[in-house]
Amino acid sequence: MIQDMRLIELKGVCKQFGDTEVLHDVHLYIRKCEFITLLGPSGCGKTTLLRIIGGFDMPSSGEVLFEGKDMTGIPPYKRRINTVFQKYALFSHLNVFDNIAFGLNLKTPEQLGVHSKKEMKEEIARRVNRMLKLVKMEGYEKRSVNALSGGQQQRIAIARALVNEPEVLLLDEPLGALDLKLRKEMQLELKAMQQQLGITFIYVTHDQEEALTMSDTIAVMNGGRIQQIGDPKGIYDEPKNAFVADFIGESNIIPGVMLKDDLVLFSNTEFQCVDEGFDQNAPVDVVVRPEDIMLVGEDVGMLTGVVESVIFKGVHYEMIIISGDYKWKVQSTTMQPVGTRVGMTIVPYNIHIMHRTEMDHVPYNERVNPDKGEEARP
């Protein structure tokens, strides 16, 4: 399905608003028919990047290429791109049918492949009805958009954009206002639509689970820079830095030292790992996912600790375990009561080593303050 063709290419895109730098030297290419997600916390520049692709904002410097042609200065209405806006932005003076038909009504009969005004009207009705079917909103043509629920408005917004058969669909946190269950349904539906229509989707969200569910490619952004681009599994399993590790899924991030290939020291313990090519004694950040820590008997664990708190999360329990200097987050289907001394083991391929990031704030695991640590020992 995915052809290796660069539909959109961003080259060194920077954007400043006044003195604030919102985007810093962004390089990114988007392939035809790809579902790419720009993922990051609020203020990371993801929406600005989307708006630059849509033509609503101009980059301060850098180039945006569409099929190799520079798009700078081309207004939104001349781009073969359509957008689903965060708050839907439906036209409240028009009914459902006229909202969806809005873009088609602006075209000439020739652009729709017909010859007369009358044929055009029929063609528009045909296309609108096809879209209503796609978004499962048949029978709502005459309704006022103000009378629809959030989820229904969302479907109309998607239909209104897709009916124009754009090359690219931009979606700016389109599911943000929906409740969890509806959001999950819509995620799957959107993904299905994208595959059915073969349109490139550029999707902006701060919800990492949403990104993992839907995307072919994820670009994780923070502080106006792209931190990592890759497929969901790659980003989850091999985060490039502490920010990505922390933002995608839950992580224990501990500072460590790479003693030699396949051997790392952290939490005052040596661990076998599968990472090579680091300098000897290089400072590193170590990532261990909470579900990858196995709880074992106190005497056989690689680390030992005391359960500080337990939260039931549905499928599993989430425990905070104090071991040495750090609080570890552990997920397990079996519960250990608070105060229990437990052992923890981590198999080598679940230890992920990253170069130490030069960030202001590395989201290391919370350190146990020495006094409290003493108290925790009986």
Partner: protein
């Protein structure tokens, strides 16, 4: 004490000075000076000289409303724009004249438009004048527009300011050039503001009092002046009755306008002040 009692002073005031006089107006309108029921007072409308004044009132009020819309809409659009962050102070500047008494403003207008006034001096200086302004319908129209323009700008500004900017972006996104963004989205969405503005200009303009008399040197009367004139006709024994029937007609006109406004803009989105 029930909360509604706190409004008692206001209710009493309104009862004495609005409700009771209104009942008197109704009484007079439907009776002869001797106190017999009649509809003859309303027939006075059909007299050509009265009808002429009513028609002139309607005509000038329509022109005034149209001019206010043409001048006011672009102003409101500019003030509500995103790139413009001094909007608040400019809105105040537009409102400022409204806080001044209407008669004062109209007297100022008289001085400006006078044969020897600022306007004619300026026209003379560039070799275009002097021209006769004061005493013409043009002068009356200028006075009306000047007085009622803020009532057009404000409700439209309110609606445009509240409009979600992403709606405009959505229109661009779907293929609207800037002109089509206006005609297909912005103007249709600001209809409540337009209706509110039109009503708020048209109603006081059609019933306006004194502006026309002052700016036309007493030559051109409008409906409001007509009522005043009739009440002061000392030779006419029916003057209270006819004047009351005319007043009542004006009131009905206003009620119809309000009904229309409510229908088009039921939630007062246009920030209606009536």
């Amino acid at each position: 004490m029930k909360r509604s009692w706190y409004a008692a002073p206001y209710a009493l005031w309104m009862l004495l000075f609005a409700v009771v006089p209104l009942l008197f107006v109704c009484w007079y309108a439907f009776t002869t000076p001797e106190g017999h029921f009649t509809l003859a007072n309303f027939q006075e409308f059909s007299k050509p000289r009265y009808l002429g004044i009513i028609l002139r009132s309607l005509k000038l009020a329509l022109y005034c409303t149209a001019l206010c819309l043409v001048i006011g809409y672009p102003t409101a659009w500019f003030l509500a724009g995103r790139g413009f962050n001094n909007a608040q102070s400019l809105v105040v500047l537009i409102l400022l004249p409204m806080w001044m008494n209407l008669l004062l403003r109209t007297y100022a207008m008289m001085t400006l438009l006078d044969d020897n006034g600022v306007l004619n001096a300026a026209l003379q200086a560039i070799g275009l004048g002097p021209i006769k302004v004061i005493g013409t319908e043009g002068a009356v129209l200028m006075g009306l527009v000047y007085n009622y323009l803020p009532f057009m700008v404000l409700p439209i500004y309110t609606v445009l300011k509240k409009m979600d900017y992403s709606v405009i972006e959505a229109a661009e996104d779907l293929g609207c050039n800037p002109l089509r963004v206006m005609t297909r989205v912005v103007i249709p969405l600001s209809v409540p503001g337009i209706v509110s503005g039109v009503t708020m200009v048209f109603m006081p303009a059609v019933t306006s009092f004194a502006i026309s008399t002052l700016l036309s040197s007493g030559k051109l009367r409008l409906a409001g002046d007509l009522i005043d004139y009739i009440f002061n006709q000392s030779s006419n024994p029916n003057r209270w009755n006819i004047g009351s029937s005319f007043s009542l007609m004006m009131l009905v006109l206003i009620l119809i306008s309000i009904g229309f406004l409510r229908k088009v803009d039921p939630d007062s989105e246009g920030g209606g002040m009536w």
